[in-house]
């Protein structure tokens, strides 16, 4: 790579799949981009980097961190070099996610109704009933079109040989899709012409597809049902996303206090009185959505909304109780679900997962703790996690204790190294670990996945944790046509 000043210091780590560099040099998908940027001076690159930051700041694409009583505006770190997927790779991912979601949906329908999968001995009953996110109130609730997971974000990672694995299915209220849209709009500002030249597929259909699905769920015979987005409010870290989506779909953004329930119907308080609501895209968690049924101290929800949902007067997206399907211990049964419900072989692999409720697994994991990632089944956002290779003896011991105390709440997985992608950090192009979260929309007419998604980056050198709450950033994600 002589003469390519930008690439001169790019060192791929051994046994890590790099998205840009293969064993024959730069991969075809990246060639256009590399030739466009390799001759830019570091001043120009730094200027682009600063421009991106400025655009995020002035557009208010920020989240607020509260410390010492005062809010500080932070931007979600953005890396300017796009992550690129080829058409064939994308096709594989798309088919794999569709298959998986189909199975997970049937699973939710089954588990909250007849429970064939338990009766046939595929999934142990104990595992389901011990899951805190199995919501008894959802048993025998009729859900419109039998769809539970209207919006999901499936996290994918790549091992050292480039194989895609599903790391997590986020089926509750996955966030980040606004960054998929905003990152794209920033990219065409900082790299003019590069998108059309590379024939990058557009992601801008996402809000239209989502709205179409939401409108399709309305139960009233009406040509323009009222669809709203329920947000926890301006102090929520994803508030920017809520406003963006509401604006792009042209629907009302409501808070819990804007809604009231009367006679099992949901209304919003307007300047002209009450107006009935047909569909709610909620970004409030199950626990908080109805203080009469779930947490009684919740100020974010709407008293009585569960009753309205159960009687079919309002559609709620995503359905309640989805947490039982993306529980980290239930996760290990997803391949079995695909075989059981669809009679197909899984297209996307699962990361091998050891349930620590099983004594043999526990023994095996304790012996090989330095090669394992241990996660709490019920947490996300990179919390409640131990990466064996980076943990101290003490941390390991305290995890062991916690596991012995409550083995159901933990799983272990071998450390998968995660692929790396080029990032422009401190004026140098360097490899950093990434994952990929495509967003799937499941509506009455089937599953749509916009070609793209959110690539999350672990910005710290050598780190494997991409979560934004743990110092992760994001990249624009291109799918080539």
């Amino acid at each position: 790579m002589e003469g390519h000043s930008l690439l001169a210091n790019y060192n791929v780590q051994p046994r890590v799949w790099d998205e840009m560099f293969g064993k024959d040099g730069i991969r075809p998908a990246y060639r256009n981009v590399v030739s466009a940027i390799q001759n830019l001076s570091s001043d120009e690159m730094t200027h682009k980097d600063e421009l991106a930051k400025k655009l995020f700041m002035s557009q208010g694409i920020t989240f607020t961190v509260y410390s010492s009583g005062e809010g500080i505006e932070k931007i979600f770190p953005f890396d300017i070099i796009p992550r690129i997927l080829e058409a064939a790779e994308w096709k594989h991912i798309e088919e794999g996610i569709k298959q998986r979601l189909k199975a997970l949906n049937i699973f939710l329908k089954d588990i909250y109704n007849q429970q064939f999968i338990i009766k046939d001995g595929i999934v142990p009953a104990k595992l389901i009933y011990s899951c805190p996110n199995f919501i008894r109130q959802m048993v025998n609730v009729e859900v419109p079109f039998d769809i539970y997971t209207h919006i999901s974000g499936i996290d994918l990672i790549r091992d050292h040989d480039g194989t895609y694995y599903v790391l997590e299915d986020n089926l509750r209220t996955p966030s980040g899709v606004s960054y998929m849209l905003e990152n794209r709009s920033i990219t065409y500002r900082i790299f003019p012409d590069l998108l059309p030249k590379n024939n990058v597929r557009s992601v801008k259909d996402y809000p239209d597809l989502l709205l179409k699905n939401l409108v399709g769920l309305a139960n009233r015979q009406k040509s323009d049902p009222t669809v709203v987005l329920l947000t926890p409010g301006i102090y929520n870290s994803a508030y920017f996303e809520h406003t963006t989506l509401a604006r792009l779909m042209g629907i009302e953004l409501v808070e819990g206090s804007d809604l009231v329930v009367d006679n099992h119907k949901v209304y919003m308080k307007t300047t002209t009185g009450l107006k009935q609501v047909d569909v709610i895209y909620r970004r409030v968690d199950d626990d908080f959505i109805d203080p009469l049924v779930f947490r009684p101290d919740s100020m974010l929800g709407v008293p009585g909304i569960y009753g309205a949902y159960r009687t079919g007067h309002v559609a709620i997206v995503n359905a309640m109780g989805n947490g039982v399907a993306d529980d980290k211990a239930v996760y290990s049964y997803v391949p079995a679900m695909i075989r059981y419900y669809l009679n197909e072989e899984p297209i996307l692999k699962n990361v091998p997962t050891y349930q620590l409720a099983i004594p043999e697994n526990r023994k095996l994991v304790f012996e090989n703790m330095d090669k394992m990632v241990i996660k709490k089944t019920n947490e996300s956002g990179g919390y409640g996690m131990l990466i064996g290779s980076a943990a101290t003896e003490e941390e390991m011991e305290s995890f062991k204790e916690a596991i012995e105390e409550d083995p159901r709440s933990f799983i272990a997985q071998p450390i998968i190294s995660l692929s790396s992608a080029p990032c422009y950090i401190n004026g140098v192009l360097q490899p950093r670990r990434v994952d990929l979260r495509p967003y799937a929309l499941y509506g009455p007419e089937g599953i749509d996945i916009v070609p793209g998604g959110l690539t999350r980056v672990a910005l710290k050198e050598g780190s494997l944790v991409v979560n934004s709450s743990q110092g992760g950033g994001s990249k624009d994600t291109w799918v080539l046509g």
Partner: protein, 311 residues
């Protein structure tokens, strides 16, 4: 429109109008503090635009940089420009889907501007007028952005209702502050600089000169600030505009709510219109300003009750 949204749009507009008013007032007062060292005092202004205690206000005294810092940038002063802009933005943030992206970005930029180090340095050590000018300029950018991007719907009506209501209150308040400085004693034959500064603060000096060339009289100033319908800061003009935007809400209002507000606004308008205030009657003037303010606050409270669902 959601009641909460209407409420937030209304308050966003009020905070922005208040910001603009305060900034202009500070600018003229600062300039006069440099010019009229003899008679000048910041105290009346501090009493109106600070929520600090009497002792704290006295401690600040007449130290112009300190006063400016307190009224402009002090986070602990609930009425400071800093807090007004922050609150305008908080309100805008909660209704981002009802204002245009341009308006939101403009307010967001405004918020970042008043937190900017340069502004703070200018106010504390440099030339405060430069800082005030750039803040005033950004406020005008906001008004222009609202004008050319916002749809003329319900949101726009609430925005203007908030704006003109606040402006009427500000004009009445500023007049009151200046008259208090003069102890409501307006029989002095000599020209009163305070009233000239009032006109500067309300962007009305040029209009005054065009109307009464070379003839500066307190009575004319009073007439302009209260009654001149060509003057966008006169109380009469603001009330007429308020009524105009309110009338547009009729088709989107509950009839009884509309009736309540129509009565209150109509009464305030007519009380101003059919008053005949003369300088010679200082007690009448004092009462008139007090009554007008009460009526304006009554209108705000009625909106809160009948349209924003806060009883």
């Amino acid at each position: 429109m959601l009641s909460r949204v209407a409420d937030s749009v209304f308050w966003m507009a009020r905070y922005m109008e208040r910001t603009n008013g305060t900034l202009r007032l500070l600018r003229t007062n600062y300039i006069s503090s440099q010019d009229e060292v003899q008679d000048f005092s910041w105290q009346p202004l501090l009493r109106s635009y600070s929520d600090a205690s009497v002792e704290e206000i006295q401690a600040i005294g007449n130290d112009s940089p300190k006063v400016l810092e307190h009224l402009l940038l002090d986070r602990n002063n609930g009425a400071s420009v800093f807090n007004n802009i922050t609150r305008a933005r908080e309100n805008a943030r909660a209704v981002q889907d009802h204002i245009t992206k341009e308006v939101w970005q403009c307010l967001n930029d405004y918020y970042h501007l008043i937190r900017d180090k340069n502004i703070h340095v200018q106010v504390k050590q440099g030339d405060p007028v430069t800082a005030l000018d750039s803040l005033i300029y950004h406020g005008m950018l906001y008004h222009g952005t609202v004008d050319i991007t916002m749809a003329r719907g319900e949101g726009f009506n609430y925005l203007n209702i908030g704006k003109f209501l606040e402006r009427a209150i500000l004009s009445a308040d500023m007049l009151n502050i200046k008259l208090t400085e003069l102890n409501y004693n307006l029989q002095q034959p000599v020209e009163v600089p305070a009233l000239r500064y009032l006109l500067y603060s309300l962007s009305g000096y040029e209009l005054y000169l065009k109307t009464h060339r070379g003839n500066f009289q307190a009575d004319h100033v009073l007439q302009q600030v209260l009654y001149n319908d060509n003057f966008p800061h006169s109380v009469s003009y603001c009330l007429k505009q308020l009524f105009r935007y309110f009338e547009r809400l009729e088709s989107e209002s509950l009839p009884e709510s509309y009736k309540q507000l129509e009565f209150l606004i109509g009464r305030a308008m007519n009380n101003v219109k059919y008053s005949s205030i003369r300088l010679s009657d200082s007690e009448g003037l004092l009462n008139f300003l007090y009554q007008t303010r009460q009526e304006l606050f009554g209108i705000a409270a009625a909106f809160n009750q009948y349209y924003f669902g806060n009883s």
